[in-house]
Subunit: 228 residues, 2 copies
């Protein structure tokens, strides 16, 4: 019997690539506006080059970009970029359609909810709080809690321990087959592939279920628990 | 002849204490909401106690508060607080009435505009950018540019050098008599006391002028330059 649903965060509950793209685009426009004398493409490509090297959560990306492009950090330019980034991110930081009603329905059905994310602790929790989802989950496991990324068994074993459940009582939902599906399967959980979060639509997930909308989870749980 | 107006930032262009109060109050409510089990007053007083010790711009104030009150940083609590703080600050971060039209009028009159602030470089520029004032000023001097606070002559001498003007060609506007008026006078500038920013209304400024609204600067410049 399924007693808990465990979610990946980025591209499963929130369209992370959309908000990153919108925030970076707005920041680049604002920095050019404030005197950054390079083309939109050059600035944007430099930002993603730094993200590729330092990680997508790298907080000093604009400091590094300006140092590499201009030899120094111009504070009029960087402050304009940071404010535009935060404003655009705030506007784009909304859950995927049907996330909130589905989570509430699952809670009503008596299920526990959890998150297992490879994002750093602070950034994962800040996104949950911006999304107003921080009160929904019984357990949240982030990269810093085990220092291991999915598909390592460690974050999955930790969430099971904190939920006080066995793996066969849990359903893992995620958009990254190699991490979310492979990892959850390896410890014995049932798996759901969030196809709506798979931007390039290239993955062959090997999961027990495959969904195009998060609301499909309701019937999956009912079916698993022999309620329909 | 007056050729430039130099402004203090906090409590002269923006009501800094209002935005700090609103942001802290919102953060405390959100942290209690997220499980912080102390009274509103205890949490708020602890935050201001830390600000008094570490400085009002101290960025890790919630980390320190939670460590002192709970022995550790709970990420659900802190992320809820940070998001509420930022949201409330964003809403309260607007210039005082008449700031933008007055600055534009002064630019039309051919004057240069500058800021001399004791705030750290990054925070001062971020506030200017949130206020959408970052394009208005020819020169911005922050604490980090001289490592000296007003009334030291150093930030005033640096702004004069960057403006390429003599002190008698400049009018300094600020809400803190001991810093803004005393410092500007000591290098030979004319001074304007921003009484509307003097929350406790206790100061005897000793300035050349005393204003209740920033728009009064227009006539002060006209009078100084013998246009009326």
């Amino acid at each position: 019997m399924i007693k808990a649903i465990i979610f990946d965060l980025d591209n499963t509950l929130v369209d992370f690539m959309l908000l990153k793209t919108r925030a970076v685009d707005a920041a680049v426009y604002a920095m050019i506006d404030a005197g950054l004398n390079v083309s939109f493409e050059v600035a944007r490509d430099k930002i993603y080059e730094i993200y590729n090297k330092e990680g997508i959560e790298y907080q000093l990306v604009f400091d590094k970009m300006l140092t590499e492009l201009l030899g120094e950090v111009d504070y009029k330019i960087i402050s304009s970029g940071i404010v535009a980034y935060r404003t655009a991110r705030g506007a784009a930081l909304t859950p995927y359609p049907n996330v909130i009603p589905t989570l509430i329905e699952l809670i009503k059905m008596g299920l526990k909810l959890a998150v297992v994310s490879d994002a750093p602790k602070r950034e994962a929790w800040l996104r949950l709080s911006y999304l107003k989802l921080q009160h929904m989950f019984d357990v949240v496991i982030t990269f810093d809690d085990t220092k291991q990324r999915k598909p390592s068994a460690e974050p999955f074993n930790l969430v099971l321990k904190k939920l006080e459940l066995n793996p066969e009582e849990c359903l893992m939902v995620g958009d990254w087959a190699e991490r979310d599906v492979v990892g959850a399967k390896s410890v014995g959980m049932k798996t759901v592939f969030a196809r709506y979060g798979d931007t390039f639509n290239t993955q062959n997930p090997g999961s027990d279920y495959d969904i195009n909308c998060i609301s499909e989870l309701i019937n999956i749980v009912k079916k698993e628990n022999k309620l329909i």
